[in-house]
């Protein structure tokens, strides 16, 4: 660990948003928004600098306060973290811009929410800290920060619907955290350390480890809204204000996924079995099918998008069965690992852009009409062509049609599925695409259909539509630097690595 160059940037990436959040509490409402937008550009440029540093050195670290681990906190930015932080920054900038104008419009249906900005920046700090964490407890603390800020943001509107959904979200999150913490406690008890690097070397397979793995994974699955623990996500994401929904769906749920990815590939390699991977994959496939099906049945735009989130996150879980090698397979010969990894990361990026765009578009619709019933999307191409285009482009990426980022992700996933011989995931992936096409084209069909009755609508500032459109385009543009991104990611310790499950009866342990 010590051989990596130290840099202040990781600490700044966490500290600056916190500072901005605190500062914004002292401003009046107008100033907060301005501070927020400027601040997000600042944090974004920090993220860019850090990204460049990581491309130069491979990994940069920062030891907080000079206290060395295992007692101190080490912030590590490797390529995987850099990609996630960069993604958060880009989407964060757009959402800040959008929120600035969105809350500015003093319309009765949308108030001015002064607490948005401090909460959003604390959330951003938490997200960055999560991506940079290098020990189990820090992960716990950061995900709690994220959760509390996210719930607070979700209930910002103060309506009973949002409050109830928020309470449900909070309770589910607490359960998840407690489960996770339990696992951490067990691990500490058996190994005496919490550092991710050390654990990867020191952790022995055994009953304790397996139980810890199960409990941690369950906790993270709850936080990630994986099937069958997904019940809290649709109400929470749909009842929240549009920019908040975008944050929640695009960024917050990715935090739990990130944790699971790191822990499975860097820490728990010794006690994972092939069956465990398959089980996670089944969860993912069920989420894809169930979520897409539910989305198809919705009559409310935001609920549709929220269910779509459940489905798309399922694709992420389907990468895990490909990472856990069957007994007897060696990581070197498993050439499907690289596509599986690529698929997961690109799905994260494409989904983040597309989902943020969709929720921002939903916000535009709410602003224009006061409600978001899907029927109201009739003839959208006539009265808000930019938003219709944003919905179309984002939807195409969700389906996975070329040349979008979603297509690249699904291509890689299918490739991994076929190369590894686990062809049984293919029908789920394809059925998911078909169902997604079903609800996306349902939206588009309405958008093209002529209006029956002219609903009175407020004109929406162009900049909001531009934000949504640019984010949608983002899900396509990530394909252009794909080759370079993948090469960059290979520098990350876990990228492209497989988890060689223990032989001997498919169980675990050499004891």
């Amino acid at each position: 660990m010590k051989e990596f160059p130290t840099s202040a940037l990781p600490a700044l990436l966490v500290g600056l948003p916190m500072l901005l959040a605190t500062m914004s509490l002292f401003f009046r409402v107008k100033g907060r928004a301005l501070l927020g937008v400027l601040g997000s550009f600042l944090v974004g440029s920090l993220a860019l600098f850090a990204f460049i540093e990581v491309t130069k050195y491979g990994t940069i670290i920062h030891i907080l306060g000079g206290w060395e681990p295992p007692l101190g906190i080490l912030l590590r930015m490797d390529p995987l973290a850099a990609v996630f932080i960069g993604l958060t920054a880009i989407i964060g900038i757009f959402i800040s811009l959008y929120s600035w104008w969105y809350f500015r419009a003093r319309i009765a249906s949308i108030g001015r929410f002064p607490l948005f900005w401090p909460l959003w920046f604390f959330l951003w700090a938490g997200l960055n800290a999560l991506f940079l964490s290098n020990d189990l407890f820090n992960l716990y603390v950061t995900i709690e920060v994220i959760t509390i800020c996210a719930v607070a943001l979700a209930v910002l509107s103060g309506e009973p619907k949002a409050l109830k959904a928020g309470l449900r979200y909070l309770l589910a999150a607490i359960i998840g955290s407690m489960a996770y913490l339990f696992g951490v406690a067990l691990i500490y008890g058996s190994t005496g350390t919490l550092d991710l690097y050390l654990l990867g070397e020191v952790l022995k397979p055994g009953n304790t480890t397996t139980f810890a793995l199960i409990v941690i994974t369950l906790g993270l699955l709850i936080k990630k809204a994986a099937f069958p623990f997904h019940f809290w996500l649709p109400p929470a994401h749909s009842a929240a204000l549009a920019p908040v929904s975008a944050l929640l769906s695009a960024l917050v749920v990715k935090g739990a996924f990130y944790m699971m990815l790191r822990l499975w590939t860097e820490v728990f390699e010794v006690s994972l079995t092939f069956a465990a991977g398959q089980l996670i994959g089944i969860t993912g496939a069920a989420a894809v099918l169930w979520g897409s099906w539910q989305a198809l049945l919705q009559t409310n735009f935001k609920l549709l998008v929220a269910h779509s989130s459940v489905a798309q996150m399922g694709y992420l879980l389907m990468m895990f069965p490909l990472l856990v090698l069957a007994p007897g397979q060696m990581a070197d010969s498993a050439d499907w690992l690289a596509p599986a990894w690529t698929a997961g990361i690109f799905q994260v990026m494409a989904h983040a852009f597309a989902k943020a765009s969709l929720f921002l578009s939903a916000g535009i619709v709410v602003m224009a009409l006061g409600h978001d019933r899907i029927e109201s999307l009739r003839d959208l191409v006539a009265w808000m062509p930019m938003t219709a285009m944003a919905i179309g482009i984002a939807g195409v990426s969700l389906i996975g049609l070329p040349p979008s980022g979603g297509f690249l992700a699904k291509w890689m996933l299918l490739k991994g599925v076929f190369l590894s011989g686990q062809w049984w995931w293919a029908p789920a992936i394809l059925a998911g695409s078909l169902l997604t096409a079903g609800y996306v084209f349902m939206l588009l069909r309405l958008a093209f259909a002529p209006a029956r009755v002219k609903d009175p609508f407020r004109p929406v500032p162009k900049i909001l539509q531009v934000c949504a459109l640019l984010l949608a385009l983002g899900s396509f543009l990530i394909v252009i630097p794909a080759e370079n991104l993948i090469q960059f990611l290979e520098g990350s310790k876990s990228f492209g690595s497989g988890i060689e499950s223990i032989v001997k009866g498919g169980g675990y342990g050499n004891e």
Binding site: I148, L163, K164, R168, L171, I174, F182, A185
Partner: protein
């Protein structure tokens, strides 16, 4: 059967965790659900702290204490938040469960 101290604590914490988990899902009233999560937390923290005195250590390991204190702070915050949400929901709608009253 002689058990190590921390094994007793571990067992207790699993039981507490299970009771709490069951309570969250089975209880209807907001307050009961929140209390159930606190019980879950109690179980987890108990487990954590009990590892402070593992075998072959002569003095108590301070790290779990620090971690548990942090955890308690976080859990209390989350519980307080949940309580205020429940209170606000009740104030606005008069409901105190997730399902509508008949």
């Amino acid at each position: 059967m002689k058990m190590e101290t921390y094994e007793i604590y571990s067992l207790t914490s699993v039981v507490l965790f299970a009771i709490g988990l069951g309570g969250v899902f089975l209880a209807k009233h907001f307050l009961r659900k929140i209390i159930a999560t606190i019980i879950m937390g109690g179980g987890v923290f108990l487990c954590f702290v009990s590892f402070a005195k593992r075998d072959a250590i002569t003095f108590a390991d301070p790290i779990p204490h620090a971690l548990v204190i942090t955890g308690i702070v976080v859990a209390v915050t989350a519980a307080a938040f949940a309580l205020s949400l429940a209170r606000r929901i009740h104030k606005l709608t008069g409901e105190d469960t997730f399902e509508a009253k008949k």
